[in-house]
């Protein structure tokens, strides 16, 4: 009876977005006379930080400071249509819509600044610090608060923009399955190290180390949050979680966190990651998406590590101690039969 260490790897792709019914989102932007740029949406933030990353994309596309951008979202009376927050689509779809809205708003900003600074719009640029300035002559500039006031009170213009992004519907060929179901592909490769106790069947995950390629990180800390959370979720999926412990039977269905096993702080493995950025062809600033896939690659990596440790393939999730012990017993019997 002993503890055995093993290492396993897995490499996966993850598609961004859905589109078998068409996948649109809209965004509206307007500047108030306080110099605040309001981005109006109907998208929901699931706790992953959508409101923050969309404000970053909006600020970048408008060329104004992050602090001057306000997200007004999740109201169907005021916000334009969004399909919803799922399928790793929100940053990609809403971000693209925001960039388009920002282009329209920027055009008005430059028209007004052109009047105020008495230069052609194409000779102007934003400095990202809250000013529009003359290219090559940064001392000639106007602050966006003054600009917003001038647009409204002096020129009778609204600094606003409409943005729309749609991935058109893709039909599926019934005979061949030909289809275009997504927008881009993110990637992950995970290496898991485990320790398997052949007496108790328990698996301890020692480390989950991964590389991710997600196009562009809008907010590295929020990406790291997805990686940490997803790694643990994948580990829990591989080893602990199920609503049907004796699937497909429905008995013993857990009804609360006393019965539904999720990892606690004591189970936390070492989680380490690197993030690569190969900008996608169609995402905002090259974004692909990181929302879902971080939970995927740890599952097969852990199952493969268990095989590396004790030589059994656990192909029914989760890999509970019971399943591991039964597989080890089966393996011993087979070895005995082979020896006879």
């Amino acid at each position: 009876m002993a503890k055995h260490r093993g290492v396993g790897m897995a490499a996966v792709n993850y598609p961004t977005g859905m589109n078998l019914g068409g996948d649109p989102s809209q965004a509206l932007i307007h500047a108030t006379t306080t110099g605040t740029f309001v981005i109006t949406l109907s998208s929901t933030d699931l706790g992953q930080g959508l409101k923050t990353v969309i404000a970053q994309i909006g600020a970048e596309a408008l060329g104004v400071p992050f602090e001057n951008v306000l997200i007004d979202t999740a109201d169907t009376d005021t916000g334009p249509h969004c399909m919803g927050t799922f399928a790793s689509r929100a940053t990609h779809r809403v971000g693209n819509a925001v960039i388009r809205a920002a282009e329209e708003a920027r055009k008005v900003m430059f028209e007004v600044a052109s009047e105020e600074l008495e230069v052609a719009p194409e000779d102007l640029e934003t400095d990202g610090q809250g000013n529009i300035r003359v290219k090559g002559s940064p001392e000639h500039s106007i602050n966006i608060v003054d600009l917003a006031l001038a647009a409204h009170f002096k020129y009778g213009k609204t600094i606003s923009g409409r943005g729309m992004y749609i991935k058109p519907k893709s039909e599926v060929d019934p005979d061949t399955g030909a289809m275009d179901p997504d927008s881009t592909e993110a990637h992950a490769c995970t290496v898991a190290e485990v320790e398997v106790d052949d007496e108790t069947g328990e698996v301890k995950v020692l480390s989950i180390k991964s590389a991710y390629e997600i196009g562009r990180q809008v907010n590295p800390k929020l990406v790291e949050g997805q990686i940490q959370g997803g790694s643990l979720m994948g580990m829990a999926h591989a080893l602990y979680e199920t609503t049907a412990p004796y699937y497909p039977a429905i008995d013993h269905a857990p009804g609360g966190f006393n019965e539904y096993i999720v990892p606690g702080p004591q189970d936390q493995p070492e989680i380490e990651s690197v993030v690569l950025e190969y900008p996608s062809v169609n995402g905002p600033f090259g974004v692909k998406g990181v929302g879902e896939m971080t939970a995927n690659s740890p599952i097969p990596a852990i199952i493969n590590a268990i095989h590396d440790a004790v030589g059994v393939w656990i192909t029914e999730l989760p890999a509970t101690p019971e399943k591991i012990l039964r597989a080890l017993e089966e393996k011993r019997k087979e070895e005995e039969r082979g020896a006879e």
Binding site: V12, Q56, E213, P220, T243, Y260
Partner: protein, 453 residues
Amino acid sequence: MTKQLLNVVGQSVHRRDGMGHVTGRTTFVDDIQFRDMLYLKMVRSPVPHARIRGIDFSEAEKVPGFVRALTHRDVPKNIYTILCLIGVGPDEEPVLAEDRVLYKGEQIAAVVAESEEAAVEAASRVVVDLEELPAVFDVEEALKPDAPVLKPWGTNYFIYDYEYGQSNPCRKVRFGDVEKAFAEADYIVEGRYQMSPIEHAPTETTGCVVKPEPDGRYTVYTNTQALFFTLDNSALILNIPFNKLHFVGGTVGGGFGGKVDVIVEPIAILAAMKTGRPVKYVFSREEEMRCSSTRGAWRMYFKDGVMKDGRIIARKVTTYADAGAYNRHTPYAVTKHAANVAGPYSIPNVWIDAYCVYTNRQPGSAMRGFGVTPASFAVEVQMDRIAHTIGMDPWELRFINAYRNGDVRPHRKVVEDATLIETMKAAAQLVGKELPEHLLAMNSWDREGGHHG
């Protein structure tokens, strides 16, 4: 691509709502209170499959605080399917059960009362007269001729392609000729994989509060992941104009796909319409775990033809998604699954049959990874089994077969954003795995020899 100079994209600015979350000051749906608010609780099926002979509310009505009950007769368009908005049909799930229940925990009748305690008490006193029927839980059992039939159209599987005048029992992908390739392969490697159903386990359970407004509209405060999607489905179920509904969301306390079903809103709006008072319907933790959708379980059979040099020349996959009792999002998950179950590899001959199967289990539906998580699990364990069978390093097997930009995937989509090889190299470097020169020389833009597979 030229390097863009970016100001704030790429910066780890603090999230705007972070302080609210960590100090407990973010308002969630369950925090919303109105003075004359009513509470809705469900009468649920205690068995997985039964005929409903009758419902008796007489004892429930005696509970102090009982206001009224709702049955399927109160729901204008009781039978629906969520994905009707993208053309998926036919409708097949009742908002409230009519003459039959198909899973343990299914919604049969709603009770609204002055307090949560009264609603729970009244719901517990509703007597449902049930005639239990034989149930089927296993996806492959459900497809056998002697299995109890769960759907009005007579099969226990979703029918694909009816919009093209076809009636296919599964989503098919056909690419090349797998049987011919199997005959030429040096090895055949087979595998069976079973994905478990799991709970989304959000911190905040699914729920909504509906407030009738003086102008005749209804404000719905909800933690749905998809406001318009839920609004549209609710209006269709209630047969009211879309603009009678005003949905307000915000920060959701964890979704993971569990909040894209449309379960709590239609019945809570109906209760508000019938009583003229605000109504709250929020799942208990037990309801969230035992009654609401889970990740769909999935069974997958793989047969691969492999050459001695590691090239996978054929992959034949038959998979069964366990939708549980109703469609929810599973018919679409199966299609997404079919597009990904050959994995991020260029395999010249692929044959996929992906079924959406009904059982008497709690419905499976959307969850983080939606159809791809089971595919990635099966594909990546299968890859290691192939490597083990042919005696090759699992890293090398993946490099050799990795898809490249310009390749055509089995569903005929041209690969344009592939970086699997670069990602694997980075992971190898992270863990100190030494890769041989011929693998390090590979990249996702050029195939060795200069041509695309």
